[in-house]
């Protein structure tokens, strides 16, 4: 078959159909509960403001080339090349008090198989206050020794699984395992994509602590062609000495998305490392106290951060498409800002929660 008149309309028809699809819903102001805890809604006022911002940016950055707007470097690796931008941010945190975490865990008899809260209380009453005490117990000694061995082994992943398996995955002691790491071990990770799965990741934000500052590296795709290089650059951050991942909703979004895109290019998944998803710990900490548990709401309420000219994450695809279509890099400005702020807030939120429970006093 050659290009017949039938064929000519296929691309247009699919474009119409696909551009008519929306992956987020509009929610009228003050009606946040109607949307449930879904990531996929945008307040109509936010939407209007973002559309206006887009128009402003397009005229403001008209005719300016990429390099005059963004100051960064080319990241080159076996996947090709992408753009990398680095920034430094203040970060205040107390060193972790590992002892507090160890005490908490050692007093938690229910980590031993077969011991629930009721049995735990009975054992306490009979003088078994710690796991060490329990090593003398005729029945539980075996399991207790096993638990202690696993804890003193110092493998965060294993301890997280141990605690998470006996309690819930968002139990405070699960977060507490982070105290076994140095601040420099953490990789704060957030991505911006062209949609909910099955499309490119256009921006990878990675934060790490260097000299008591938060250093944020962002890998941006100037064209979709640069995705593979950005993926490989990102993965290299996850394979450090003793790394641990910190995300906000990364267990259901950022990490599976990353794995999915790696598989898309026929690349293997990154090695499993400890992963602290702050969405779950925040939920446990502030549920009922705060009306919204989105990152932007938390940073406002808990960290007193106010964003200016921010765009809702769900509208990133629209902004990136505007850049792709026009070549005008104005729409990229708020995407980079948004992602950078997400990483910064994520890091601060993490240290805030850690400080509350395991900070040195």
């Amino acid at each position: 078959m050659t290009a017949t008149p039938l064929f000519n309309r296929a691309g247009m028809l699919w474009q119409q159909r696909i551009s008519g699809m929306h992956e987020y819903e509009f929610v009228r102001e003050g009606n946040v509960f109607s949307a449930g805890f879904s990531q996929s809604f945008v307040f109509s006022s936010e939407y209007e403001a973002a559309r206006q911002l887009l128009a402003t940016l397009l005229s403001q950055y008209q005719g300016r080339n990429f390099d005059s707007v963004f100051c960064g470097r080319d990241e080159v690796n076996s996947g090709g090349v992408c753009f990398a931008h680095t920034s430094r941010h203040d970060l205040s945190f107390h060193p972790f008090d590992t002892g507090r975490f160890r005490d908490e865990v050692e007093k938690d008899l229910s980590l031993v198989h077969g011991i629930g809260p009721a049995t735990g209380k009975k054992l306490n009453a009979r003088g078994y206050l710690t796991l060490n005490d329990l090593c003398r117990h005729p029945h539980y000694c075996h399991n207790a020794k096993d638990v202690l061995t696993r804890i003193s082994g110092g493998n965060t992943l294993e301890i997280m699984n141990l605690i998470g398996g006996r309690h819930s995955r968002s139990h405070r002691s699960v977060l507490g395992t982070a105290a076994m790491h140095e601040p420099e071990d953490f990789v704060f990770f957030d991505i911006e994509t062209l949609g909910l799965f099955g499309r490119p990741i256009i921006l990878f934000g990675i934060g790490s602590v260097e000299n008591e500052k938060l250093c944020v590296t962002q890998y941006l795709l100037r064209d979709i062609d640069e995705e593979e290089a950005a993926l490989l650059a990102t993965v290299s951050h996850l394979s450090g000495d003793h790394p641990a991942l910190v995300t906000f909703n990364g267990k259901s979004f950022d990490l599976p998305y990353l794995t999915d895109r790696l598989a898309y290019y026929g690349l293997g998944s990154p090695v499993a490392i400890p992963h602290f998803d702050m969405l779950h710990f925040s939920r446990r900490r502030w549920k009922g106290e705060l009306s919204s548990l989105r990152l932007t709401a938390l940073e406002k309420a808990v960290l007193e951060i106010k964003r200016k000219d921010d765009i809702p994450g769900q509208m990133v695809p629209e902004f990136y498409e505007a850049y792709q279509r026009s070549g005008n890099c104005g729409p990229l400005v708020p995407i980079l800002d948004h992602n950078r702020q997400d990483v910064v807030s994520l890091a601060r939120l993490f240290f805030h929660l850690m400080g509350e429970s395991y900070g040195c006093t």
């Binding site: 078959m1 050659t2 290009a3 017949t4 008149p5 039938l6 064929f7 309309r9 296929a10 691309g11 247009m12 028809l13 699919w14 474009q15 119409q16 159909r17 696909i18 551009s19 008519g20 699809m21 992956e23 090709g80 062209l194 949609g195 909910l196 799965f197 099955g198 499309r199 490119p200 064209d223 979709i224 062609d225 995705e227 593979e228 794995t259 999915d260 790696l262 598989a263 898309y264 290019y265 026929g266 998944s269 695809p317 498409e321 792709q324 279509r325």
Partner: protein, 769 residues
């Protein structure tokens, strides 16, 4: 033995005798067993011995071919042991290779559920671990990961497969070990749906290649005219076809019964069906009766019970309806009552031909031709228990296909003429799946051509210009807005969706074409057996508001069709007539609608809808110039003759090409285009075409002959619903001229030679006006 009694009754009662147009008797056949080229493993051999199973010839043929590495399509009848024919090669593979996996695809969730138990049994008995599991929309999230990683046989459906392919990374264990793809009831994957499935399968194979596996196929289908071609289109692979059934069956009688034997029908055809059902029940035959609609199933049951009550209350109570919407317990009760013999007659809708689990019965009555020979065979195949004598009766309705079979029993009982069509060239379907593929793995314009055809390159560039794909050094990457697997619907085209709302509740969705035809303002529409009236249809917002109603009339839209030839792709001569195939643009103007009570028109209302334009594929032919002259001489109307020929050809298309007459459209004109030539067009009713007109063009001669025979043999004088009247005609069946139709069809089918067309052939019933 009660079947001979019933046959005697059909022969002795005059009203039955004159309506029976044909009885085809098939003599009993004993089992033919086969031999395997290399023996099965001791575990599988032990299973067969223990279960007392000796393999039939067709099972052995299929197993041998499959074990030799070939792809196999099995077209033997239902209940011939097809399941075992694919389970044995699959289990052989599972036993030999601990990494081997198999995927079983079923068209419905219910069919997949039925297969789980036999697979578990086979696994338990042989000790070959299969961990068979169903993976579909009902599978709990918590079980999915374990199934993907541990199950060695996964049963699913194409819709689920379409959705999960984009998550292939999670399926890499399964995909890298995939050795078998089993597709049961594959004939269901035809037309628009089948063409979509064909690309879902290609996408699956593309991922298998990525993960290093090369699965073999085993397909089972109902009888088709083109099993190998069909299997190749569906999967892109070459197949061995196994058609010779080795399973035994008893004596079978197939009765063709025509209430319209004399052109009129004294009672309604449904009442005749009821009479036959009651006679069967009185003869103590367990009988299954298939009807076209749920409402008719209910009515027939009611009438039959009233009638039977006249002779015995027990007989009346032994008749029941079996329809969709029954609770599982209600169904099981009926199935149980059939097994213990307390139930004698069950009336069911065609839709249940597969879902019904009642085993085999003594008699089957088909109230009207179910639309395809495939369905006919599947329904009639319900008659006949192990080796016992059985009977099937087709009660003809007043429509062209039913009547054609009544006049041509040889066609009914001959080899299948039905071609199952899959169109790999529909640009919309193909394009949609290229996008899906690009969201799964980067598309390589060279290596992926084997899945998406030689024009892949053009599509990729076209998509780039529409911002849907980006060319990268790794291939073409999807970068559009929506999720592709969500945008691509397997049962439709990428069209706008209209929502039918009743008091704010969504009843159903339809595309624009269907909305204009069935849900225009004032239309009476049916939804799951309930009647609704359309209060408002908004072509801009795509909302259709309806309310429930119980009016006694129906509506039918009136439309005018404009057609323009975009490009002629092929031209040939058939019986001295120029025929062409190509791309056309069809514009339908819906001008109004008729309000009908029964067949009486009680009013016509105007409609103002924007015209509906779509591009599709058509064949057309220009009857030789001398026809017009001869019709003029005979005082016959050319326009009415062409229009009648168009209707007759469309009516007989389903005999040759598996489709519904509603999938096809037509247009005829005594003076078309710049040259003012007479012409008849037949086009696919789907945007982009779906291969129906293309296939019909390829087999035009037999199609024209059957259309001619159908019109010639109809005893009516001026055309009737059994020949050239069309229930979907947008011009209210005007103009029609049966005499002219017969001459045109006779001439172009080559049945009446050019020189003798002055003579009216005998038996046409034509009265020259």
């Amino acid at each position: 033995m009660a079947v001979p009694d019933l046959l005697r009754l059909l022969d002795s009662v005059p009203s039955y005798r004159e309506r029976v147009t044909h009885i085809e008797t098939t003599e009993p056949v004993t089992a033919r067993y086969g031999r395997l080229d290399c023996s099965l493993s001791p575990a599988l051999e032990g299973y067969l011995t223990q279960s007392g199973i000796r393999l039939y010839s067709h099972q052995c043929e299929a197993i041998n071919a499959s074990r030799a590495g070939r792809n196999v399509i099995l077209t033997t009848p239902t209940a011939s042991g097809k399941t075992l024919a694919f389970n044995l090669p699959v289990f052989t593979a599972l036993e030999c290779d601990s990494d081997a996996r198999a995927l079983y695809l079923y068209p419905t969730k219910a069919l997949a559920n039925d297969q789980l138990l036999p697979l578990d049994e086979l696994s338990r008995f042989t000790g070959i671990s299969a961990r068979s599991a169903i993976y579909d929309g009902d599978t709990p999230q918590s079980k999915r990961a374990a199934i993907r990683e541990k199950s060695r046989i996964i049963l699913s459906n194409p819709h689920e497969l379409h959705q999960v392919l984009s998550w292939h990374a999670k399926w890499r264990y399964f995909l890298s070990g995939l050795e078998f793809i089993v597709i049961d009831e594959a004939h269901r994957y035809r037309g628009v749906f089948g063409s979509n499935i064909a690309f879902v399968i290609r996408r699956l194979l593309r991922l298998c290649r990525h993960y290093g596996s090369e699965p073999r196929f085993i397909l089972s289908t109902a009888t088709l005219a083109n099993p190998q071609e069909f299997a190749r289109c569906l999967t892109g692979q070459v197949f061995v076809s196994v058609e010779e059934d080795g399973s035994p069956h008893g004596r079978k009688h197939f009765v063709l019964y025509n209430p319209f034997f004399n052109g009129i029908c004294e009672k309604s055809a449904h009442h005749e069906t009821k009479d036959l059902l009651v006679s069967c029940v009185k003869e103590d035959l367990q009988t299954l009766c298939f009807t076209g609609s749920r409402k008719m199933a209910e009515l027939l049951t009611l009438w039959a019970r009233e009638d039977a009550r006249l002779s015995s209350a027990r007989a009346a109570d032994s008749i029941s309806v079996y329809r969709a919407g029954f609770l599982p317990e209600e169904r099981r009760t009926i199935e149980q009552q059939l097994k213990d013999g307390s139930l004698k007659g069950v009336v069911s809708t065609n839709a249940l031909e597969l879902g019904i689990d009642v085993g085999s019965l003594d008699a089957v009555i088909l109230s009207g031709y179910p639309g395809t020979m495939m369905s006919t065979r599947q329904q009639a195949g319900r008659a006949g228990r192990k080796g016992d004598e059985a009977i099937a009766i087709l009660v003809a309705q007043a429509n062209p296909l039913d009547q054609y079979f009544m006049h041509h029993p040889d066609r009914f009982f001959s080899r299948s003429h039905e071609h199952a069509i899959i169109d790999l060239k529909n640009p919309y379907i193909l394009a949609g799946h290229i996008l899906c593929a690009a969201a799964e793995l980067p598309v390589d314009e060279g290596a992926d051509r084997q899945y998406f055809g030689d024009t892949l390159d053009e599509y990729l560039h076209d998509f780039q210009s529409h911002d849907l794909l980006r060319k990268t050094s790794r291939g073409w990457v999807y970068s559009g807005r929506g999720r592709t697997a969500e945008a691509v619907r397997l049962d439709g085209m990428p069209q706008e969706t209209f929502r039918v709302l009743c008091q704010g509740k969504l009843l159903e969705t339809m595309d624009r074409g269907q909305a204009y035809r069935e849900a225009h303002e004032g239309a009476i529409m049916l939804h799951q057996g309930e009647t609704y009236i359309v209060n408002e249809m908004d072509p801009a917002t795509h909302n259709i508001r309806v309310t429930g109603t119980s009016v006694d009339y129906s509506t039918q839209p009136l439309k005018e069709v404009e057609l323009a030839i975009l490009e002629t792709l092929e031209t040939k001569e058939v019986n001295g007539m120029r025929c062409s195939f190509g791309d056309v643009e069809v514009t339908e103007h819906f001008t109004g609608y008729k309000i009908k009570r029964g067949d009486t028109i009680i009013g016509i209302e105007p409609l103002s809808l924007p015209p509906l334009t779509f591009r599709t594929r058509a064949f057309w032919f220009i009857p030789p110039a001398d026809i017009k002259k001869s019709l003029d001489t005979a005082g016959l109307d050319l326009a009415g003759g062409l229009h009648g020929a168009e209707h007759a050809i469309i009516a007989l298309m389903p005999l040759h090409v598996l489709c519904d007459r509603w999938d096809i459209g037509g247009m005829s004109s005594p003076a078309f285009g710049a040259d003012g030539e007479p012409v008849v067009f037949v086009y696919d009713g789907h945007e982009g075409g779906i291969g129906l007109a293309e296939k019909a063009y390829a087999i035009l001669s037999p199609l024209l002959i059957s259309a001619y025979e159908m019109v010639r043999d109809c005893p009516c004088d001026d055309g009737c619903p059994s020949c050239i009247h069309s229930p979907k005609c947008g011009n209210d069946n005007q103009p029609l001229d049966k005499g002219a139709t017969t001459r045109i069809l006779g001439r172009i089918s080559g049945e009446i030679p050019a020189c003798s067309h002055e003579q009216v052939p005998a038996g046409t019933g034509v009265v020259p006006s």
